[in-house]
């Protein structure tokens, strides 16, 4: 049964210090006493960033925030709020963090209750095509604050203080990147927003721009101010027409309101922006390739150093951040870097947006604090695996991420933990895999993508991924040979360490991680010619069991007449003739045909 209410209890260090653990015990006891244990769920959250008012307890629906809660207050809260549905005004606090607004509207669903929305705080709340809507939710206040009271140096210090790291995948400290670009001399510099989202199935950037384009613009303008640039470019893939249209509208509206152009908001700072469309090459998400593409050249990476912060677009110092990174900036400026750094883990601050997909109940776009575990995401937010199937693996980081099996479910989401587990944060793809998937076939699928998207420049990526794919293909087709696993590992390690850019350096991840965690499946494919998930058709045989009543449906549907049998007698499949199309399997109404 689904809980009617959800209580979110902050488990950040300050709240723990202020006795939140005792409050949790008291809550559980009280709920039990009142017979509400089934109706009310308790969710323990990482730091909610409202430490000064802690311990914090949030009651949903309604998103009532209680602060300074003591053990003695618990019976009153349960009795009044949960039983009689009357919030306890005495304890309620008003915390005006930007992200709170989202939960006033969305706080009442399991799916949203465990999230924390910073980058996507306005997505799904405001009309993205109306600058008024954005202005009404303190839009451009961060920019105004920066222009009124902060020097570029102070802006950079604030970003550094926040601990924000690049959300595009590599996780480089954003503040440092800004600092490197800012300290370059010369008055021609560029700011670029990387919106060339190329991971299959990922749509974090698209949603952010479609849902709240002004946040991204505001972040970029602040970045321009911090590093001393007068020009910003949003590089977005042409396959996102609506996002482009909304971005264009937003830029026009910002210009009209004096938020872009000469002397922004009456200050001395001038900045303008344009949109460049990418032609849908995955590699153009790599910053040097992206720069070449903007310059009108073939989108191919070049070796770094020199880094774009020194020699970027048109040879000038250039600051590149991805959409999600930019969207965090206004919040950091308004709520402070210090506040931001209370959210998340020791090394990874803030939240991360994920596109949750695959074999999970609630697919969708989520934003969770760093440090949330994979299990929480998949089971609490995602609602677990549908159709009673067993969880097999979760793949994070898009096509170049790794596949983590069950024993890694309690891994915390942060850059280091995911890397240690053999995967990557990436830009935020997360695909849940159940027992119906073949890991070899899955690795092949991802490699097919990266192999196809390789720019073709460096040898390891161009030639190596091709050879790996050939080996994987022959394994899935039943032609795997002794030594193939070793070859895959050898090539994979070499490609990882020797490739020119991030695409190649991460392309072998799906293969290497499945080899590590699901090696037995590879061995089964190669030596026993068996695919346990029944996905690799060449390795599947169909057999008719004693359940067969001899109806003849399978015989009639078989396109190659491989099935024979008398009426009302058990039929049989001639394995020589069978082409493994699976039609008999789907046709049989008596579960009498099995894959073996």
């Amino acid at each position: 049964m689904r809980a009617k209410s959800i209580l979110t209890l902050c488990d950040g260090p300050t709240c723990i210090y202020k006795n939140s653990r005792a409050i949790r015990d008291a809550l559980e006891t009280e709920l039990k006493n009142q017979g509400l244990s089934d109706e009310v769920g308790i969710h323990i959250s990482g730091c909610l960033g409202m430490c000064s008012k802690g311990p914090i307890l949030i009651v949903n629906p309604g998103y009532t925030i209680y602060g300074g809660v003591t053990v003695q207050d618990i019976p009153e809260i349960v009795q009044e709020h949960l039983v009689r549905r009357r919030p306890v005004a005495r304890l309620a606090v008003q915390e005006d963090h930007l992200y709170n607004r989202f939960f006033r509207i969305f706080g009442d669903v399991d799916f949203f209750g465990r999230q924390m929305r910073i980058a996507l705080r306005n997505c799904g709340i405001i009309d993205p095509e109306k600058i008024d809507d954005y202005l009404s939710v303190r839009g451009y206040e961060a920019l105004a604050k920066v222009l009124t009271a902060m020097s570029p140096r102070e802006v950079i210090d604030e970003v550094k203080k926040s601990g924000l790291r690049g959300r595009g995948g590599a996780g480089f400290p954003t503040g440092l990147k800004w600092e490197f670009t800012a300290r370059e001399t010369g008055n021609e510099k560029y700011v670029i927003c990387n919106a060339d989202e190329g991971d299959p199935g990922a749509f974090m950037d698209r949603s952010a721009i479609e849902g709240d384009p002004h946040t991204v613009l505001e972040g970029i303008i602040i970045g321009g101010y911090a590093i001393g640039a007068a020009k910003g470019i949003v590089y977005i893939r042409a396959e996102y027409p609506l996002a482009i249209q909304r971005l264009e509208k937003a830029i026009a509206a910002a210009r009209e309101n004096g938020l872009l152009g000469k002397r922004i908001l009456g200050s001395d700072f001038s900045f303008d922006m344009e949109i460049r469309l990418g032609a849908g090459a995955f590699v153009c998400g790599e910053e040097t390739a992206l720069i070449h593409s903007i310059e009108g050249r073939r989108g191919m990476p070049t070796p770094r150093p020199p880094y774009p912060s020194v020699k970027g677009l048109f040879g000038k110092p250039t600051l590149i951040n991805n959409v999600e990174t930019w969207a965090n900036i206004p919040v950091i400026m308004l709520d402070g870097g210090e506040w931001f750094s209370t959210v998340g883990t020791e090394t990874s601050k803030g939240t991360k947006v994920f596109a949750l997909a695959g074999k999970v109940h609630n697919t969708g776009l989520i934003e969770v604090p760093m440090g949330t575990t994979l299990r929480e995401i998949i089971y609490d937010i995602g609602g677990g695996i549908p159709n009673g199937k067993k969880f097999k693996a979760v793949q994070t980081g898009g096509p170049s991420g790794g596949c983590l099996p069950e024993e890694y479910l309690d891994t915390q989401i942060d850059y280091e933990s995911l890397a240690a587990a053999g995967s990557i944060m990436g830009s935020g793809g997360m695909i849940v895999i159940d027992e119906d998937s073949c890991m070899v076939n899955l690795a092949k699928f991802f490699l097919e993508f990266t192999q196809d998207e390789s720019c073709g420049k460096c040898t390891p990526c161009r030639g190596g991924t091709k050879r790996m794919l050939e080996i994987l293909t022959r394994i899935t087709e039943g032609n795997g040979k002794e030594g193939d696993i070793e070859k895959l590992e050898r090539l994979g390690q070499m490609i990882k360490k020797a490739s020119l850019c991030g695409l190649g350096q991460s392309a072998p991840n799906p293969v290497l991680s499945t080899l590590k965690n699901f090696r037995h499946e590879y061995e089964e494919h190669i030596f026993q010619k068996k695919c346990r998930a029944g996905i690799c058709s060449a390795l599947v045989t169909y057999e008719i069991t004693e359940k067969c009543i001899g109806c003849g449906a399978c015989r009639r549907v078989c396109p190659v007449n491989a099935i024979s049998g008398k009426r009302q007698e058990r039929h049989a499949i001639n394995q020589e003739t069978c082409i493994k199309c699976g039609q008999c399997f789907t046709t049989c109404k008596f579960d009498a045909i099995v894959k073996a």
């Binding site: 799916f111 604050k145 849902g211």
Partner: protein, 118 residues
């Protein structure tokens, strides 16, 4: 001296005034998700139903707006109804037919259609 912060606060006040001028203080506010994903799931048609209904005068005192994607992909298109003093209500998998019923039952007769709620 007028600071950028002063300017932006003035702009916000004007923006809020304009939003209110568009009917934001109506008793019911209806938001239809209109991101690429929602549109792909059919939200344009749903939006059209609400728009038509307001245009033809069948719906009064309703503030209709689009919004971005909140992330509930598997339940799109979503429609959200916010009423002053009540807990916001979200409908998932809204079709034009469901939209018509939402108008009739929820918006006109204050009946929350429980089985379509998220």
């Amino acid at each position: 001296m007028v600071t950028p912060l002063d300017i932006i606060k003035k702009k916000r006040a004007e923006a809020v005034a304009r939003i209110i001028g568009r009917g934001y203080l109506s008793t019911k506010r209806v938001y239809v998700g209109m991101a690429t994903c929602e549109i792909a799931a059919g939200s344009k048609e749903v939006m059209e139903v609400f728009r038509q209904s307001i245009a033809k005068g069948g719906l009064k005192d309703v503030y209709l707006s689009q919004k971005g994607c909140a992330g509930r992909c598997n339940l799109e298109p979503t429609v959200e109804i916010v009423e002053e003093g009540k807990i916001p209500v979200k409908y998932g998998k809204v079709t034009p037919e469901r939209a018509r019923q939402i108008i009739e039952r929820h918006l006109k007769n204050n009946e929350v259609i429980e089985e379509w709620l998220i």
